[in-house]
Each structure stands twice: as C-alpha cells, then as structure tokens.
Symmetry: C2
C-alpha cells in the first residue's frame, strides 16, 4: 500500500515508542504531540488529510501542509517520500479500518437483515473518525486512479472486497425470503453505498443529525422498501 520512509507506522501498534529526539526544535510551534515519532507522523497525516478534503489533493500544496504543521515544506520530506505517499497513508488507513469493521459484522452472524443493518451503521460510524479520508477518496478517486503505476490499485481491490460482502448478504437475504427477489443485488448495493458515503458531503459532527440517528433513518427507509410484505406494487 504505502511505502514509508522511516520506521514505525500508522496502523502498526507494537512499535518502539523510543521518544522523538527533539534536540533542536527551536520555536516548537506545534501544539501538543511531543510524543513518539509515529505520533508526530500521524499528526502530520491528519493535518494533510483535512487540507486534501477541503481543497482537493491537487490544489493542496506541500507548503500549505508544512505551514499548518508549523514547519517548512522541505522538512516534510524527512517524514514522507512524496506528497503522494501522504494521501496514500490517509486512504489505506481508512480502508484498513473499514474492512476490518465489516469483517467483524460478518463474523458476528445473524440473519441477513441484521447484518446489513449493522453494515449501514458501520458506514455511518466511520463518517465521524474518517470524514476527511472519505471526502478525499470520493473527490480524488479519478485523479489518483489516473496516475501512472500501480500504487493505488489497492483502491480497486478494497472496493471489490466491500462489494462482495454487501452483495453476498443481499443475495442471502433474498434466498432466505427476507428481501424482495425482484431487485438487482448489485444495483441495490450501489444505491445503499452511494447514499451512505456521499453523506460525508453534508454531515457535520455535532450537528442536528448524529451517525446513529442517520443509520436508523436510512435503515427504516431502505428496508421498508427491501423487505417482503404488503406493497403498493410488486413487479415481476
């Protein structure tokens, strides 16, 4: 996924927390994060992710990222190989977390409707911790995919795996008779997925609608359309 320049990593937890040198560090403009090197790195990735989300990957310059961190642009290259490797880390961290959560939901068992409901909750649940990453993934997907090389091929791999999980549950629900058989599983998956993820455009943490309320609303609307039962029309 991403090539790291120094040791340690964002997702790796069992790294030596041997404290950052910080021998020089003159004006120390950076607020907190006087912790380990990996914490510092994580902090920089987070700052960059916010900028990428707000202005777009291309429109965000390494100078702006460095400014936000209180250092000069050249200093960023002590932590990262390139601007691309930063966005790489933003996206792969998110996808790693997301897929892990989905797997847990599938392992948890339950009928198709219960699992699918849980997957909706997971989707909305990532809106808050991964808002910036989700925004970047949507807005800059085409651009990143258009870059030469196979660096961002894992985006497709992750997308495919997620699709398999959703479609599998939808088909199971249809086979068990819990979901109406006259809808296209793949198209239905896309419809749900799109409606959830694009919510990142208008979702604001602390706003009128929290992720839990959003989930229940969407689940209600969705299943009273998906579940079998008395309906106004029931096409072949």
């Amino acid at each position: 996924m991403n090539t790291r320049k120094n040791s340690g990593g964002a997702s790796a937890v069992a790294t030596t927390p041997a404290a950052g040198g910080a021998a020089a560090g003159r004006t120390v403009r950076r607020a907190a994060s006087s912790g380990s090197a990996s914490e510092r790195r994580e902090h920089l990735v987070k700052l960059a992710a916010e900028l990428f989300a707000r202005k777009g990957f291309q429109a965000t310059t390494v100078r702006q990222i460095a400014d936000e961190a209180g250092i000069l642009s050249g200093s960023l290259y002590h932590h990262f190989d390139s601007k691309e490797s930063i966005v790489d880390e933003v996206l792969s961290t998110f996808l790693h977390d997301l897929i892990g959560r989905y797997r847990s939901a599938l392992d948890g068992g339950g009928d198709a409707r219960a699992v699918l409901s849980e997957m909706v909750r997971i989707g909305f649940g990532t809106l808050e911790p991964h808002r910036a990453a989700i925004t970047v993934m949507q807005n800059d997907w085409n651009y990143l995919r258009s870059l030469p090389g196979d660096r961002f091929d894992y985006l497709i791999k992750a997308e495919d795996e997620v699709e398999r999980m959703w479609v599998g549950q939808i088909k199971r629900g249809q086979a068990e008779g819990a979901l109406r058989p006259d809808v296209d599983p793949k198209l239905t998956y896309r419809m749900i997925r799109d409606a959830i993820w694009v919510a990142v455009r208008w979702f604001r943490p602390g706003g009128r609608l929290n992720p839990a309320a959003l989930s229940e609303h969407y689940i209600t609307v969705l299943f009273d359309g998906l579940a079998t039962g008395e309906r106004t029309s029931h096409p072949a």
Copy 2:
C-alpha cells in the same frame, strides 16, 4: 454566471450563425464543427468537460485541453478568459438545463408521488447528456467553492432551489397522507439526491442499465419505503 469573452453563448440560441472566419486554419485537425463560432465554442467546452471529469479540474492543464482540440494552449485564450471560465460554462449550462426540467415537472401537476417519480427520472435522465458536468460538479465542488471571489456562488443558489423543490413535494406528500410522516423531509431528500447523482461514478451509457431502468428500480425501492402501508416496523 460566466463571463464570455466573445459574442454568442452556449445557451443562447438566437445568435447570428455568421460562420467562423477560418481564413488561416492550416491543417484543420478538428474533425467536424466547421460551423458557427458558438458551435466551435461549445465543442471546446465539451472537450474540456471530459478532461475535467476524467482527471479533475486542477489536474487538467490548458495545454491538454488545447491538445485535444488540435490547437495550441495560447489559442484557447481567444475563446475564453481563463481556465476557470471554461469550467464555469460547463457547470452553469448543466444547472440551467436541470432546473428547467425540474420546473416543468412541477408545472405538470399530479400528486406528490407522481411528481417525485418524475423528478427521479429527470435526475437519471441528465446522467447521459451531462455525465461530465455532473462528475466535475461533485469532484471539484469543494475546490471551486474555496476559490476567492463570488464567481461560483451560483452553485449554492442552484443547490438551494433544487432542495426547495424536492422538500416541498415530500412535505406535500406527507400532508396528503401518501408518504409516511415519520421521516425527515430534508434528510430524505438528501438521501434520494445523493443516491441519484453519485450513480454518475459507475453509470456508463450503453451499459447493462439504462437511465429508464435505473429510475424504475430506484423508484420501486424508494417508495415501498416511503409510501404508507403495511410495514415491518412503524416508529413514532
């Protein structure tokens, strides 16, 4: 909306078709479009829109646009003030058309469910003719909105007007008893809107799914969740 450099315009139809000079034009690499000046302009906008959609507005250079048209980058500035004015024309043309179609649907009358169904069809109906513009609007919305000045304020104005139309119909449907009253109208509008527009990411003209089939699928799923009737659960 957009400031044009020369006379004539994309949406204006009653323009003198006084034929493009084309006195010099050496190798004339441009395929067809030996018509009026406004046709030539429209053609350039279309080429640019495709590039913007594929790589993103920022990542598309004026040189690439010119290449695609078979001219040099400097020559583009005979037709447009700036790169921004090109994307401006892409988006304003689309929004003009979209809002016009919505207004017709509202004027057509009918009950809320019928009007809303028609609005869904309109949404999917624009996917084919305005695929590039819709893609640009979604991917580069944040960036364009972040630019200094009020040039792209009309994006917000158009968004607001569209929201008023949708929410108005949803509320009317609830008042008339055709739609379940326990859903939030604004949130429901967003859910529908998001699901429709994001389809532009995977929709391909001539593919397995045409806009008409998509519309009916979405309408079926949506209304059997929105319409009143026997339901598994019916929260307060």
